[in-house]
Amino acid sequence: MTQKIDTDMVKHVARLVRLGISEEEAQKFSGQFSSIIGYFNMLNEVNTEMVPPASDITNNTNVLREDVAKPSMSREEFLKNAPQSERGYVKVPTVLSDE
């Protein structure tokens, strides 16, 4: 697991997290990522064959409550923070495209 993280990989993960990225930035991050991930590879030394992955640390299970409708934030209030809205909805450009 000592693979270098090249600029193509950086651009790939940037795309996965919907982050615009310039060629220059991809170069910079590529070097930094390789050293950070290289450091993390020390986890390979640990034998975890019989070890279950952690999931919850509170030991709570199935926290349930009654399904009761309660008043919540009004639509007007919610839309105060929306950059664009129309007729009570958040407005965005085309959602379905080639991607």
């Binding site: 919907r18 991050f29 930094q32 020390m42 975890t48 992955p53 640390i57």
Partner: protein, 486 residues
């Protein structure tokens, strides 16, 4: 002695005996904040009008003698990742620079109900990602003990405001040391409670399975007072515990004689600043004098805590920060956007700083096909081992003692060019969060004129013992009473 230098307990006494009013105290605090903070830069927003209104209401409560709590009329500062209705909450990020929440966090409501007075919102590393406050998108915060040094991070503004007496207490948030490390750098007392002890509702999430809101105060007594007020079950956060919150201060003076303190040998390795090590050794001797038994113990997986912590942080943060997409709130960059994806790409490119970009990309990497087993799943397995380390160690001793950082506060700019070097400054504080255990940070000396911090680590939900042992130390020493010259 300035009013703003007093503890909550001392201030409360003055308020209820009507020697001062909350309005006077609040005006004094605001005045000091406006005078001193231009050098420190701990506040992102100062809420003058709201503070004076809350102070007037507190004075009415005190005059009528109704609903007076230990925090009624007490001015406080809050890290800018905790939601405040009508007051902008930025996470020190461009993407939330103009964001004004429509609702309060549960802790905001609890403090308002108790009658506390909000002075302002404090600077932080963007979204809590950093160890020096230098990742704030707005400005650097300076350490009140030496303005050329960092206050620590990510709750650097809350620690610096407390240290510089610009509030009577503050709230920070600790995902992997973000309360304790800056508390140590700035000579204040602070606690990372047990995960699930304090509601996260309205806290803008960094790592949902690590995040803990915790108070920063002048001493342990005050810390217990604030934690008691903000802790407890919340129907809006299903990870909060149902168990009752103890009245911590009632048992604060109980003897610690005969208790056992464990010293994790893995925390005392080369690379520690000499003055930090000698301060910690001195604190251990103080506890021996107080009748505690000291024993060396082992937390064998300590060296893996940092990679486990960061890998899980990257993964959870990359998914938590997906909501910052420029469509429903916050910054939106939509020029020439062909489709909604373009809004996401542009908004996040312009709105996030480099550290946030690094971490969410590395998170996507650790979670992506082909790497999930090697990084994310592996880290969750080693996390189980970290948790077992603490359980085993704390089954044979009452409490653990360790430094909060291998060095005192470093200089501004010293580590900003090397992200990995910056991550390494968290080495003593990250292990507790994946394990969920509570830890109390206390001032314990000075090295080259800068404060040294230590932490006491306890069993799940046993903040009581932490406070008791911390309080005993503060009865013997006066490090916590030292204030910077400003």
């Amino acid at each position: 002695m300035r009013l703003t230098d007093l503890t909550i307990r001392e201030t409360h006494e003055l308020l209820i005996t009507k020697k001062i009013s909350s309005v006077e105290l609040t005006q004094a605090t605001l005045q000091r904040a406006h005078e001193i903070d231009p050098q420190i830069k701990s506040y992102v927003t100062i809420t003058d009008d709201l503070a004076l209104e809350q102070a007037r209401q507190a004075d009415e409560r005190i005059a009528k003698g109704e609903n007076v709590t230990p925090l009624t009329g007490i001015p406080f500062a809050m890290k800018d990742c905790i939601s405040t209705r009508g007051v902008r909450t930025t996470c020190s990020s461009k993407i939330l620079e103009e964001y004004i929440p429509q609702y309060n966090a549960t802790v905001t409501n609890k403090l308002a109900d108790a009658g506390a007075v909000l002075i302002g919102k404090t600077n932080m590393d963007e979204f809590g990602m950093g160890s020096s406050c230098e990742n704030s998108a707005f400005f650097n915060t300076h350490n009140p003990w030496d303005l050329d040094h960092v206050p620590g991070g990510s709750s650097g503004g809350s620690a610096a405001a407390m240290s510089a007496s610009l509030c009577s207490f503050s709230l920070g948030e600790d995902t992997g040391g973000s309360v304790r490390m800056p508390a140590g750098f700035c000579n204040v007392t602070g606690i990372k409670p047990t995960y699930g002890r304090v509601s996260r509702y309205g806290l803008i999430s960094l790592v949902s399975s690590f995040d803990c809101i915790g108070p920063m105060t002048r001493d342990v007594y005050d810390c217990a007072t604030v934690l008691e007020t903000i802790a407890g079950h919340d129907e809006h956060d299903s990870t909060t515990f149902n168990s009752p919150v103890p009245q911590y201060n009632q048992n604060l003076n109980k003897s610690i004689k005969g208790m056992t303190i464990g010293i994790p040998k893995e925390y005392f390795v080369s690379g520690m600043e000499a003055g930090v090590e000698s301060s910690i050794q001195e604190a251990i001797r103080t506890y021996e004098k107080l009748g505690m038994t000291v024993r060396e113990i082992s937390l064998p997986n300590t060296k893996y805590a940092l990679p486990v912590y960061y890998l899980l942080l990257f993964a959870e943060a990359s998914s938590n920060l997906a909501r910052m997409d420029g469509t429903r709130f916050g910054l939106s960059v939509s020029e020439n956007a062909k489709d909604v994806i373009d809004i996401y790409l542009q908004t996040r490119h312009e709105g996030f700083g480099d550290e946030v970009k690094r971490r969410i990309m590395l998170g996507a990497y650790a979670l992506s096909a082909g790497y999930y087993d090697a990084y994310y799943l592996k880290a969750q397995k080693v996390r189980t081992l970290l948790r077992r380390d603490f359980e085993l160690a704390l089954s044979s001793v009452d409490i653990l003692l360790a430094p909060t950082c291998p060095t005192t506060a470093f200089k501004l700019g010293e580590k900003t060019n090397d992200p990995l070097e910056m991550y390494l400054s968290d080495i003593y504080v990250v292990a507790t969060n994946p394990a969920g255990v509570p830890a109390l940070a206390l001032p314990c000396g000075f090295s080259n004129s800068m404060p040294v911090g230590m932490q006491l680590i306890g069993k799940h939900l046993d903040e009581q013992t932490l406070f008791q042992v911390g309080h005993a130390y503060q009865q013997e020493t006066d490090w916590h009473k030292q204030l910077p010259n400003l």
